[in-house]
């Protein structure tokens, strides 16, 4: 399972990349390309929105908040959660992991605002793997860390993938071949990533006197 979160949507247009290009439309276009390529490679894909307006979490008529998006991602138990953004600044792709300090183990009670801290090491590995794949595809790539909502609340290997134009023309971000190239590099990299991802160890391993959780039972001969 892979979660794709095309940022913004509806009234929230995100940044204005050019006079005719809004961030919310670029993120959705990239998400559609990524979804097709991932499904073709055997992944199940969950998107937080597949139209301009975010998917409604229930029938109450409310739109998705950033926390709702994190909730969708966390329930999916995904091998990777990619928050898709777009910017007019720079070129290529910018990959951001959370700037939380890494937690050595998964706490028994996971705080909502720092859930990602247990997954930082996995996110770093995913970041490096995607950066290498994008570089091989001749896409200029910058890796960094930042605090972008709702990345810190995700309990999965998570990255912000920010797409920038290919050159000084901001509208070059809409180039279908360019977006396809980026999506292909990411999708191919995730195929290898699927076999490497390992969830963080729980902070209190189950004692032999207590019943073990289902994941631990699988390891028992």
């Amino acid at each position: 399972m892979v979660v794709l979160d095309p940022a913004h949507g509806g009234l929230d247009s995100g940044s204005r990349i050019s006079e005719s290009t809004l961030e919310k439309n670029v993120t959705l276009a990239l998400a559609f390309k990524l979804r097709s390529l991932l499904v073709a490679r055997g992944f199940a894909v969950t998107m937080t929105r597949d139209a301009d307006v975010p998917t409604q979490p229930d029938a109450s008529g409310s739109t998705l908040t950033l926390d709702d998006r994190a909730g969708i991602a966390n329930h999916a138990h995904a091998v990777a959660c990619l928050l898709l953004h777009a910017t007019a600044a720079g070129t290529g792709v910018h990959l951001y992991k959370s700037d939380l300090a890494p937690a050595p183990t998964l706490p028994s009670v996971v705080p909502w605002l720092t859930a990602q801290s247990a997954w930082i090491d996995q996110s770093s590995a995913l970041q490096q793997q995607l950066a290498n794949a994008l570089s091989r595809a001749s896409v200029p790539t910058i890796i960094s860390s930042a605090s972008v909502r709702p990345e810190d609340s995700l309990s999965c290997p998570a990255l912000v993938v920010e797409l920038a134009p290919t050159n000084s023309d901001p509208d070059s971000i809409n180039n279908a071949d360019y977006q396809q190239n980026v999506a292909q590099a990411i999708a191919s990299s995730l195929v290898f990533w699927r076999n490497q991802v390992q969830p963080p160890q729980p902070s209190h391993p189950p004692s032999p006197t207590h019943p073990a959780p289902p994941t631990a039972r699988k390891r028992t001969p």
């Binding site: 940022a7 913004h8 929230d12 995100g14 940044s15 204005r16 961030e23 950033l66 953004h85 910017t87 007019a88 600044a89 720079g90 910018h94 951001y96 700037d99 939380l100 300090a101 705080p111 605002l113 720092t114 490096q128 950066a131 290498n132 994008l134 570089s135 091989r136 200029p140 790539t141 910058i142 890796i143 960094s144 860390s145 930042a146 605090s147 972008v148 909502r149 810190d152 912000v160 920010e162």
Partner: protein
């Protein structure tokens, strides 16, 4: 004839009254705009005194880095006013033509509050430390010596700020690092907008968390050369 003159005088007076009303309304509108503009653009007056060297951590959008730069500025004595002046000067640098991190020339900060950090909340432990209830039996709360700066941004600054992960993160980190460089007791910084918590600065950078001065976020690596 008299009636005709009276009628002319009457309508002339009505016209004068209307003209006067329009004139007064326009003057009132202009005065209000002038006061509003003054409130938005007046920088905090520096007290008379010698200019001291300060360090501004200036952001660069092209490289995604912060560069310490020294300027001579007269600072007020009060730490809160000093912190506010530092941020005002920092944003004023970004509004200069040719800035590597261009921002619109608005007054960014309504107020800065400095609060003591609890002793058991080192900034390195978690960037989301929120105040812990102190023991009511102790008269003096135990503090670490460090301070939390609460920066209340103006909504005009947030709404006019360029949108994007990098540009927003650089602005916040630039403010945090500048405050810590000149007022080392400031270990954490939280942001409000018009006195209220807000999720993001302009759609991306998290404004709900406390930023630690020791944060190494945004140390970028270009992986072009590292395939």
């Amino acid at each position: 004839m008299n009636q005709r003159r009276q009628r002319i005088v009457f309508w002339c007076m009505i016209a004068c009254i209307l003209a006067m009303a329009v004139f007064l309304a326009m003057q009132r509108k202009r005065g209000r705009e002038r006061v509003q503009a003054l409130g938005n653009t007046t920088l905090l007056d520096a007290p008379p005194g010698n200019a001291t060297p300060i360090t501004l951590e200036l952001a660069n959008d092209a490289t995604g880095t912060l560069t310490p730069t020294t300027r001579d500025v007269a600072l007020p004595d009060a730490p809160n006013a000093r912190a506010r002046t530092l941020i005002d000067h920092l944003i004023a640098e970004y509004s200069q033509p040719g800035s590597a991190h261009p921002l619109s020339p608005t007054t960014p900060v309504a107020e800065v509050f400095l609060l003591p950090l609890p002793a058991d909340s080192p900034s390195s432990r978690s960037s989301r430390t929120i105040f812990r209830a102190t023991d009511p039996t102790t008269s003096i709360p135990d503090t670490s010596g460090g301070e939390l700066a609460v920066v209340d941004l103006r909504s005009a600054f947030a709404s006019e700020h360029p949108s994007g992960v990098e540009v927003e993160s650089l602005t916040l980190l630039s403010i945090v690092k500048t405050l810590h460089a000149n007022l080392p007791q400031i270990e954490q910084v939280r942001f409000l907008v018009d006195g209220q918590p807000r999720e993001t600065l302009a759609g991306h950078a998290d404004l709900l968390k406390a930023y630690t001065a020791s944060s190494n976020a945004h140390t970028e690596t270009d992986s072009d050369t590292n395939p």
